[in-house]
């Protein structure tokens, strides 16, 4: 088996003591930032990037650490949902529905355990699927030329706009804004300045760290400052332990949720929020005997499993195609680009130590997370007791230190704050931020491929529609684009189905 041999090679990379340590560090940090409000995996990955460079980590080790934070955060997020009834991000709303009632009934420990197991099942089964699917997908993608890439990226933007939670026009505006922000600076093909307005500082373009910290860290702190949410920690200790029969009862729910999460996670835009909502809804239809919403284990296991499955599945397009489907994979992709590693299908043949080392580390990381999370969950839960007046100034200070360390310029700090205020206003009026980030990361690739395709054809745009594969992708994109126009009710029905559960 081709995949198994490659996986074995990957394990030889991931099992070195140093990389094991990094995976453990990533998993533990990920759980912590997932548990804490306000920081989240996107910010932590961006903040750790300059550290990876400073420590001279090779790209595969850096990616093992950063990815550990990513899937580790999927384990940590459930803690505040279950104990505080505060979902840290939209993907976790469903976790509160049955998780919090369980904690109120004094079974917080059992609830944390079953959701940890669910996260493990969802994460691990998806890594198995990823192992066998990534290479065939990459093999198809290797044949893609610039025209197919332009089509594929357009498709991923249309998916973001159509399936995403915000109104399509607003998502498109966010995508265009991301592309626009990425254009600031000197154009590689002609040496011309674009959107610099004569500013020397803008010549090099907007730094990736600056944009991400502004968009996510600063705006999040402003949102929290506006309306302080708080809750009291429900006791997690004591209570009846999780029984085998309860785990067994949840297995079918977990398997269904994994399948759902995997397929939704591969698509851009759908990600964790939609898949956990859909998994909960489906599970409720199948198994509800009037117990859902009152502390049913299956109602907790299902969205948690789907959440982690979708998170891991969104690595598939990132690794195989070089196109990220979620905010966090966009940041991981940005990290790879900073290491001047070209993401995409060739990664598997040209830099197998990165691709397979990462995949192998995800097996190891998930086991570590299960071990970390079952006995030590109390330790992570204690993080919730950190008062906000220490936590948020700390996050802000760390974020600014990270931006300065990455860019060495106080101008970038001003930019980060201004972007943060812009992002705060965008959030208030319903413009989504994740599509903006994805578009920002993809912009260079998008424009380069567009111009390369046109170079091949001497400026004739017909080349974009010549190969059958490109035509097929364009047609799908067109269909997706037109869905909200032709069937506005369909969107509403899906939205309603999801809403009615919250």
């Amino acid at each position: 088996m081709d995949a198994l041999a490659s996986l074995a090679y990957g394990f030889s990379v991931a099992l070195t003591p140093f990389n094991l340590l990094l995976a453990l560090l990533g998993a533990a940090l990920g759980t912590a930032v997932g548990a804490l409000p306000g920081i989240g995996p996107i910010n932590s990955i961006v903040l750790l990037l300059p550290l990876c460079f400073a420590l001279g980590l090779p790209p595969e080790s850096a990616l093992i650490l950063l990815a550990g934070i990513y899937y580790g955060s999927g384990y940590g997020g459930r803690i505040s949902s279950i104990l505080l009834n505060i979902p840290g991000d939209p993907g976790l709303v469903m976790t509160t529905l049955d998780g919090f009632p369980l904690a109120q009934k004094g079974r917080g420990a059992a609830a944390l355990a079953i959701s940890g197991i669910g996260s493990f099942v969802g994460g691990t089964l998806t890594v198995v699927l990823l192992t066998f699917l990534a290479v065939p997908l990459a093999r198809i993608a290797v044949t893609f030329g610039p025209a197919e890439y332009v089509a594929l990226m357009t498709l991923s933007f249309t998916l973001l706009a159509t399936i995403g939670e915000a109104r399509p026009a607003k998502t498109w505006a966010a995508i265009a804004l991301g592309l626009l922000l990425a254009m600031v600076g000197i154009d590689g093909g002609s040496g011309i300045e674009r959107f610099t307005f004569g500013s020397l500082e803008l010549l090099g373009g907007i730094d990736f760290t600056t944009l991400t910290i502004g968009l996510f860290a600063v705006s999040e702190i402003l949102v929290v400052a506006e309306g302080l949410r708080s809750g009291t920690v429900t006791s997690y200790s004591g209570g009846e332990r999780l029984k085998w029969s309860e785990i067994r009862a949840c297995i079918p729910a977990m398997l269904r949720a994994t399948g759902l999460g995997f397929f939704l996670g591969i698509l851009p835009a759908t990600g964790a929020a939609v898949s956990s909502a859909l998994a909960y809804t489906v599970e409720k239809r199948i198994s509800d005997r009037g117990t859902f919403g009152k502390g049913d284990m299956r109602g907790l296991a299902s969205p948690e499993t789907a959440d982690n499955a979708a998170q891991t599945a969104s690595m598939v397009p990132m690794l195989a195609l070089g196109i990220p489907g979620s905010g966090t994979t966009a940041v991981l992709l940005g990290a790879l680009m900073m290491y001047s590693v070209t993401p995409g299908p060739l990664l598997f043949t040209q830099r197998p130590e990165i691709a397979w080392g990462l995949i192998a580390s995800m097996y190891i990381g998930n086991v570590m997370l299960l071990v970390l999370n079952l006995p030590l969950v109390g330790l992570f839960a204690r993080l919730l007791l950190v008062p906000y007046w220490i936590l948020f100034p700390g996050i802000l200070g760390l974020s600014f230190a990270g931006v300065y360390a990455a860019t060495n310029s106080s101008f970038e700090l001003v930019l980060a704050v201004l972007l943060g205020i812009l992002a705060y206003v965008m959030r208030k009026v319903g413009f989504p931020l994740i599509p903006l980030l994805i578009a920002f990361v993809l912009a260079r690739l998008f424009e380069d491929n567009l111009r390369r395709a046109m170079s091949l054809s001497d400026g004739n745009p017909a080349i974009l529609f010549q190969s059958p594969v490109a035509v097929a992708i364009w047609l799908v994109a067109l269909a997706v684009l037109l869905v909200p126009l032709i069937a506005p009710r369909l969107r509403k029905r899906v939205a309603h189905m999801v809403d009615s559960e919250t």
């Binding site: 109104r167 498109w172 265009a176 002609s190 674009r194 600063v218 400052a225 360390a405 001003v414 009026v429």
Partner: protein, 146 residues
């Protein structure tokens, strides 16, 4: 139309203006040399047109939304202290500047003054020790040398 639609009207018009600006900027670029037949002008124009269409669509078909009223004093405190921070960072050095930022934000997050002062000073020193001394990523050192 409910008055909640005003937010979509304003944001739509802003997006539209941004699109017009991008198209205009793209058109006004003077290209002496480009390695490819498309050049650097096309992409800003395309993106600007998307913004234009989206902005028009949002402004012309606004949806009512409720503006959740929060505590603007706190936001203002956090936003202003963050905006001032880059300007005091180099003159004061990382630790004093970050301690001031942390102190003001801690007040915004309902910290009591004395603990907030101590907490933010310690926080600034810890970050400095971690990033500058520990990892060797240079942070600005002011007159205090830190």
């Amino acid at each position: 139309m409910a008055d909640g639609a005003i937010f979509d009207r304003i944001s739509g018009v802003l997006v539209l203006l941004l699109g017009v600006g991008a198209v205009w900027h793209g058109l006004s670029l003077e290209v002496a040399f480009a390695a490819d037949p498309v050049g650097p002008k096309a992409f800003p124009i395309i993106v600007g047109l998307i913004l234009l269409v989206c902005g028009a669509s949002i402004a012309l078909r606004p949806k009512a939304m409720a503006w959740e009223v929060g505590d603007y004093g706190r936001i203002l405190l956090v936003a202003l202290s963050s905006l001032v921070y880059p300007f005091i960072l180099l003159p004061l050095g990382f630790v004093p500047a970050t301690a001031i930022l942390g102190f003001l934000c801690a007040l915004a997050f309902k910290g009591r003054p004395i603990p907030a002062l101590f907490g933010s000073t310690i926080m600034a020193i810890v970050i400095f020790a971690l990033i500058d001394l520990g990892l060797g990523l240079g942070l600005p050192r002011g007159p205090l040398g830190m």
